[in-house]
Assembly symmetry: C2
Homo-oligomer: 231 residues x 2
DNA sequence: ACCTGAACACCGTTCAAGT
DNA sequence: ACCTGAACACCGTTCAAGT
């Protein structure tokens, strides 16, 4: 089969889906495509360009905005759509965070996102600040502090690695409890919920909690015609 | 002078402050210390360990919480203190985001942060969700979508790089306006404020806008004794 | 026009010495 | 106990060919 940019990007996305960004390099990507590393450079100009293209592939999977709905439902469902996409491609968050240029596809998504507010009566001023407040939530993620950024690779040692360096024996746990009592209380509260529905920290719940907190705030500002004191 | 872990970490932080994470590698770090690369490995076990140690240096610079103040003032000023520290060390955000293990110093900061809520009457349940909602804001940063993650290195081509690939001539601008009209409206609104105080997007203003939006929401939940429906 | 092969520069790190 | 020197494995990419 003839090589093409699309073929390269698709293979790269598939590879990253399996191995994470850490496992993605020009040599193994070329091997997956049955080609020598340098062949890739006819279709992507550099690894940066490859990563930009991969982001474009991901962005294309996000649903278009709802039509004929009020702003809150439209924004909310779009963010949650982005979230499911970003969770299908777990490497995308990290890659998105390190991009230094915005590709047209990324700009188009941003533009359409902003349009959901402007087209439904938000002022440019408020929309501007709202976009800042949402930040990366527009992609359906937040920087989480409790879970590890990336699982090293395809090895099954993932859980022991995320737990720290050594297995948590009783002495270790007690030492933890003495040094970081507040962390422990929060961790126990999360573990406590396990009994009912079999989940610890429900990331989806937490994401929507924070999202709705922001949407509530935004709704209030919009309703009372808020403007920044800067104009 | 005798090499020590502290000396290595201090030099690494200084190097990263100047060059960014991109410019930080074991060879140039060793050179800065007047030593051969392998000498570093007596004091840090790997580059990961080096980065962990550098984060610890940064965390140590964050002010302790205020005493005898209500929760909101305490949390707010602590977050803003973290923000000034993180802005002194612009590489720290990126490094923090890629850590897979929490060092004791990071856990201690987290614990103390949680304590600001618990010690002032917040329920464990609400505090848990609040911590998720704040996310990386507890370090004083949000993932910004409009500005570039890292300036490549010490070269003066920073502004032209952040602007994109080519200089924005009139034709380019008009094409942008047609494709991404909403992005343009927001950008113009931000530029418009320039006349008054000489700033475009004021990151500090935007950060506090989002922070206060969240704090308002949290205050409301706390005041009416909110609990998650999960218990 | 597209792909190949060999090679270069750079980086984290191992290993066997040195003092 | 601490530092050195040479070397290895891995990676992005240039360059000069091949078809």
């Amino acid at each position: 089969m003839r090589l093409s940019r699309t073929a390269v990007l698709t293979a790269a996305v598939a590879l990253a889906d399996e191995q994470g960004v850490g496992g993605l390099n020009m040599r193994t990507l070329a091997e997956d495509l049955g080609v020598v590393p340098m062949a890739l450079y006819k279709h992507v100009s550099s690894k940066e360009d490859l990563l930009d293209g991969m982001v474009d592939v991901v962005v294309a999977e996000i649903d278009p905005p709802l039509e004929g709905q009020e702003w809150r439902a439209t924004v909310r469902s779009r963010v949650l759509s982005a979230r499911t996409v970003l969770q299908r491609h777990r490497w995308a968050r990290q890659v998105l965070e390190t991009r230094t240029t915005r590709t047209p596809a990324v700009l188009a998504y941003t533009d359409s996102f902003i349009g959901m507010f402007l087209d439904r009566g938000f002022s440019v001023d408020l929309t501007h600040h709202v976009m800042h407040a949402l930040g990366s939530r527009m992609w359906g993620f937040t920087q989480e502090l409790f879970d590890a950024p990336e699982t090293p690779a395809g090895d099954a040692a993932a859980d022991s690695a995320s737990a720290g360096s050594a297995p948590p024996d009783a002495a270790r746990l007690e030492a933890m409890a003495r040094r970081f009592p507040n962390v422990l209380r929060i961790a126990m509260a999360a573990a406590h919920d396990d009994g009912v529905v079999g989940r610890g920290c429900d990331d989806q719940y937490e994401f929507e909690f924070a999202l709705d907190l922001l949407l509530d705030g935004i709704e209030g500002l919009h309703a009372r015609g808020w403007t920044s004191a800067r104009t």
